[in-house]
Structures are given as C-alpha cells and as structure tokens.
C-alpha cells in the first residue's frame, strides 16, 4: 500500500499523462478492485474485465478526482458503477445468477456432500448473487471493503440512510439464507 504523500504524487503525475505513475496506482489498488468486481459479479473472468474497465475509466476521469474522499473510495465508486452498468448491459446475467443461486440453495441429495466438501465460497457467493444488486453493493463495500456507512454512501452516490437500509435488508436475507452454513 502506498503512503498518502506518494499516492498524491502519483495522482498528480498521472493527471499530467504519465502512464508509469498510473501503473503504480493500479498496482497498489488492483487487489481491492478485483475483489470488489468479483463479489459483484461472481465471475472471475467478468471481474477481470470490469477491473480493467474501472482503471481505464479512472485514468480518463482523473481530473474529476477532487481529493475530498480517499482515492480508494473514489476508485470503488468507479468500479461499482462499472459493475452496475455491466449488470444493465448483460441482463441475461440475472438469469445465470438466479440459476446458480437456486442450485446452491435447493436441498437435494448432494446437500450433505456439499457440506462435506466445504463449498463455503460457492454458497456465500451464491447468497451474494441472490441479493438485489444495490444491496449487494452495500454489503460488498461495508463488509469486504470495511467502509463505514458514510464512505459507502459516497462511493455509491446515495445517502447514508439509504446505505443503512440496504445493509439492514441485505443482512436479514443473508442471515436467513446462510443460516445452515453457520453450523457447518
């Protein structure tokens, strides 16, 4: 992770068009952005594409970064918007998620085997995919990126109260869906 001064300097140089400075910024934030795009899509391949798209958008809009929020928060907002736009473009994805989520949660003969084989990742990601996209975004930012509600509100461009509602609602659902997993 870069020191704040170093980061500010890299942002300044990137604004002047120096690609190598931006490469260093990408290097510093790439894991965070990949994690966010993966949690939002549930797909490794899509996560890579969206992470790349998010960084390119960030480069193209660097002038709009005011510095009032952290660079990582600003970057999260861009990555999240890329994910939300992608959701709209790829509406068929909803069907994929739905199928995956239904498979993951439907009790069947392989339920015991699923528990035994420890497919926790799959079940958690399926639960995330099952959430409405804006609730998922709120959970990704507050739980995985450990933002407080004010930061998440800035990243998603909504009010803190909206974030609180989305998190509240998403948590209720996740607890219900993952209840059995808790004891595995």
């Amino acid at each position: 992770m870069l020191a704040e001064n170093d980061e500010q300097e890299l942002i300044r140089q990137s604004r002047e068009g120096r690609a190598e400075a931006f490469t260093a910024l990408v290097s510093s934030h790439q894991r965070m952005v990949h994690s966010l795009t993966y949690r939002m899509t549930g797909s490794v391949a899509e996560a890579e594409d969206l992470a790349q798209e998010a960084f390119i958008r960030a480069w193209q809009h660097l002038d709009s970064f005011q510095g009032s929020a952290k660079f990582s928060t600003w970057l999260c907002r861009i990555a999240m918007n890329a994910c939300l736009n992608w959701r709209q473009r790829e509406s068929r994805r909803g069907e994929v998620h739905e199928t995956w989520a239904n498979d993951a949660f439907s009790p069947g003969p392989d339920e015991g085997a699923r528990a035994a084989s420890g497919k926790l990742n799959e079940k958690v990601q399926a639960a995330l995919n099952r959430l409405p996209v804006k609730q998922r975004a709120a959970i990704v930012l507050t739980v995985y990126e450990e933002m407080n509600h004010a930061e998440a509100a800035r990243a998603l461009g909504c009010t803190e109260a909206t974030i609180s509602w989305r998190v509240f609602s998403a948590r209720s659902k996740l607890k219900r869906w993952l209840k059995s997993t808790d004891h595995e």
Binding site: F22, Q52, E53, I56, K175
Partner: protein
C-alpha cells in the same frame, strides 16, 4: 446469527486466488489500453419519468420490505402509525443496530431509520411520538435525549421520571401531561412504549 458472525462467515469465503504473474502483468495490461475507447455510459434520455417511477417504487418497496421482510404482515399500516408501536418490530430493528437507532420514522414518504454513526444511543424505554401539522403527520419511535428534525422543526425528545414525554424545540415546549408553550400549529401525541422484555 448476529452481525459479527455474518461478517465472519462472509469474509471466510475468499476470492479465487490468482497467480503472482497475473498481478505483475495486470497493471501493464491496463496501461496498454489507456487510450482505448470505453463502452458508452448509459444514455441519459427519459430519466425524469424513470426517476419518478423509481422514486415511487422505492418508497413502496422500502415500506413493504420493512413490514413484510420483518414478518409483520399482520400489522396495520393505517395512517395512525400504530405499526410503530409493535414491540417485535422495535426489538428487531434495535437488535440489528445495537445502540445506533436514534429513531424509526414514518411520514408521508414512508419509513426511515435514523441511525447514529457510532453506538452511542443509550438503551432506554422507546418513546412513541406523533406530530401533525395540518393533515401532514410524522410518527416515530425514538429514545430519550434524541434531537431530531420533525415536521420541519428541530426537537429534542425527553422522558420524564413520571413516565411522561417532553418535546422541546427552539420556540416551544410540550409535555404529555397536557402543558404546552408555543407551536400552536402542531398537534402532538407521545407516550412511552412498554416493552415486555428488553
């Protein structure tokens, strides 16, 4: 499962691992594409009707989600705000945000939750408050000591030692024993909500 256990469970599912080579190559891949055109942003046309629909739908969803999501299908949602006196609802919301719930507010735009940034709201008897100006009413459940914006006025809600409720604002004071000073245009009702268990 509480919030902390849910967080732990969610975080216990890591993202798929990638090779060191991938992380080394990725910044270069981005840099090589810095000048490529991106897919266009969503068109902005027709956003006003969509916004109106989305706003209306969101308000309905928030209200319905709050009630249905918490299994309060039996609760009446008539305009009198009686649902806010539902003990189970209050318990569940307080359990979700321990010591952070400043108020659960219901007005013409639906239900809203007012949360504190930190866990600094002391546990106390919930207070039910209804403030009407003309036909516009705001009903809320809050706790003693909370300063809130109600019916366009900043008010502090207090519980007194005799089981009554006091509301004070910049230019008025009101108590549930019937005393009132100022704010003649406001019709106020308030009482503590007796909870069977806390």
């Amino acid at each position: 499962m509480n919030d902390s256990e849910l967080n732990q469970l969610l975080k216990s599912a890591p993202t798929p691992p990638r090779s060191d080579e991938y992380w080394t190559d990725f910044p270069g891949q981005v840099t090589r594409q810095l000048n490529r055109p991106l897919r266009p942003e969503r068109p902005a046309k027709n956003w006003l009707p969509r916004l109106a629909w989305a706003g209306g739908l969101a308000a309905v969803c928030v209200l319905a989600g709050f009630i249905l999501g918490n299994k309060f299908g039996h609760t009446e949602m008539a305009g009198n705000g009686q649902s806010l006196q539902n003990e189970k609802l209050i318990h569940e919301v307080m359990a979700m945000f321990p010591n952070r719930v400043r108020a659960i507010v219901k007005d013409e735009s639906g239900m809203q939750l007012v949360l504190s940034e930190s866990e600094d709201v002391p546990t106390s008897t919930p207070l039910w408050v209804k403030v009407c100006r003309g036909n516009q009413c705001t009903t809320l459940v809050t706790f003693s000591g909370q300063e809130l914006q109600i019916a366009g006025q900043k008010m502090t809600v207090l519980a007194d030692s005799g089981g009554g409720v006091i509301l004070t604002g910049d230019r008025f004071a009101w108590a549930s024993d019937g005393s009132k000073s100022g704010a003649q245009d406001l019709k106020i009702q308030a009482k503590p909500i007796q909870m069977a268990s806390r």
